[in-house]
């Protein structure tokens, strides 16, 4: 790690002011991406602003039909939460698939979303459920939030405070995990909320999480796995690496999407 100055502000306002006042600051949530990145010297921020000292950034609450999860809420808390299991069971299930138990005890939903790793799980849930990302400055719809590989609509110094999910029961996440890293080779989050049908795919595309609109269209006729028969994605946009070629991943998206839809329709 390169040297940095450490800050532990006690409020979002102070954290945002700090982030605005330093030239090269980085926000630290659970640290399970940032700390490994710092260790490998792939990042060299002058200032690290730890959000761990801000108590009101964590917590889960259901208000009406909206499930609101604080940005610093750990994956393990989401996975075990009776409130999440009741309101959006697929979301609790997804959180329980991230990393391993010790990683889930540190990693946070806000950190995962802000990082937008192309193989991360939470971005698929946000896009698949049509979540709203609430920041220190504004509300951003998930459709506008994930803008590309490790890219989001967040401005420098803007801090995610909460994520608001609609309570959707007819939803499922199916993950085809890399057997070594447990990151998604392909993960599909499928959901149906009245007329709103969403199929979000993570792990596959070089541009990060995306909505498979052709599949969504096909599912409007009938929300069943069979409706996706014959649909395919172009392989050239897919991640191609030692774990699988672009063609392999494109095919896998179709298979996993069918399973996700079947599970959601269940």
């Amino acid at each position: 790690m390169f040297a940095f100055t450490y800050h532990r502000p006690s409020s979002v306002r102070k954290a945002a002011a700090l982030a605005a006042s330093v030239a090269d600051g980085k926000l630290l949530a659970g640290g399970h991406t940032l700390i490994p990145t710092l260790k490998q010297r792939l990042a060299a921020p002058g200032d690290v602003i730890d959000l761990g000292g801000i108590p009101d950034l964590a917590g889960i609450e259901l208000r009406g039909r909206t499930l609101s999860i604080g940005a610093m809420t750990r994956h393990a808390e989401v996975a075990a939460s009776p409130v999440v299991k009741e309101a959006v069971p697929a979301l609790a299930y997804l959180a329980g698939l991230i990393g391993d138990p010790a990683v889930r005890n540190r990693g946070t939903i806000g950190g995962s979303i802000a990082n937008n790793d192309p193989s991360a799980d939470y971005p698929a849930a946000c896009l698949g459920l049509g979540a709203t990302i609430i920041t220190s400055q504004r509300r951003i719809e998930a459709d506008d939030f994930f803008t590309g590989l490790f890219e989001t609509a967040l401005e420098p110094g803007e801090i995610i405070t909460r994520i608001a999910f609609p309570a959707v029961k007819k939803a499922a996440y199916v993950k085809f995990a890399n057997p070594a890293s447990r990151y998604a080779m392909v993960g599909v989050f499928a959901a149906k909320r009245t007329a709103d049908i969403r199929v979000a795919v993570t792990g596959a595309s070089q541009s990060g999480v995306f909505r498979w609109t052709e599949a969504e269209e096909a599912l409007k006729k009938r929300f069943a796995g069979r409706s996706l028969d014959g649909l395919s994605l172009p392989a050239d946009d897919m991640i191609s690496d030692l774990h699988g070629s672009g063609e392999y991943r494109a095919h896998l998206v179709g298979v996993i999407a069918q399973r996700a839809v079947e599970a959601a329709a269940g």
């Binding site: 640290g31 700390i35 761990g52 010790a102």
Partner: protein, 164 residues
């Protein structure tokens, strides 16, 4: 340098640290608690597993400063010579170790599993839950046995159990 304050195995500790100091370095190099090991240093192997505020974490991927105000329990905080924690005793009894390098992390992870899943553990649960703890001697068979037995033993009342 910033000062970090936490309790480790029930003892308040405080030190000036370079912000880059990892929790595992702080434990091993400042406090000389070398029972917590560094295996991969990439949050995969679990040799560095300790409890922070009651939950298993990989101490190689937590800054010491992030543990400010927290309560840390390491393998040294579990038992004492002649008075092993029931999980340590189960690892000894069932030969849940070969070289022993992964053992402190295995035991801290095991107790976290019991805390979350209770004292009657299915073998499948233990194997799933050990996803983040790697034994390169491939001694999983006895480790899993030790954990299921240790979990049961933890339900029995024990006098003078330390820290946990």
């Amino acid at each position: 340098m910033p000062i970090v304050t936490m309790t480790v195995n029930g003892r308040p500790v405080s030190a000036d640290v370079d912000p880059r100091t990892l929790l595992v370095q702080f434990l091993r190099e400042n406090l000389m608690l070398t029972g917590t090991h560094v295996g991969c240093d990439t949050s995969q192997c679990g040799a560095c597993t300790v409890h922070l505020d009651g939950h298993a974490v990989k101490a190689c991927t937590v800054l010491a400063l992030q543990a400010e105000g927290g309560a840390v329990v390491t393998i040294e905080g579990l038992g004492a010579p002649g008075l092993l924690h029931p999980m340590q005793e189960a690892f000894r009894e069932h030969h849940g170790l070969q070289c022993g390098f992964c053992t402190p992390g295995m035991i801290m992870a095991a107790i976290d599993i019991v805390n979350r899943h209770g004292n009657e553990l299915a073998e499948h649960t233990v194997r799933e839950e050990l996803e983040g703890n790697i034994c390169r001697c491939t001694g999983y068979h006895n480790i899993v046995r030790a954990i299921t037995e240790g979990a049961r033993a933890m339900a029995a009342p024990v006098l003078n159990r330390a820290a946990e």
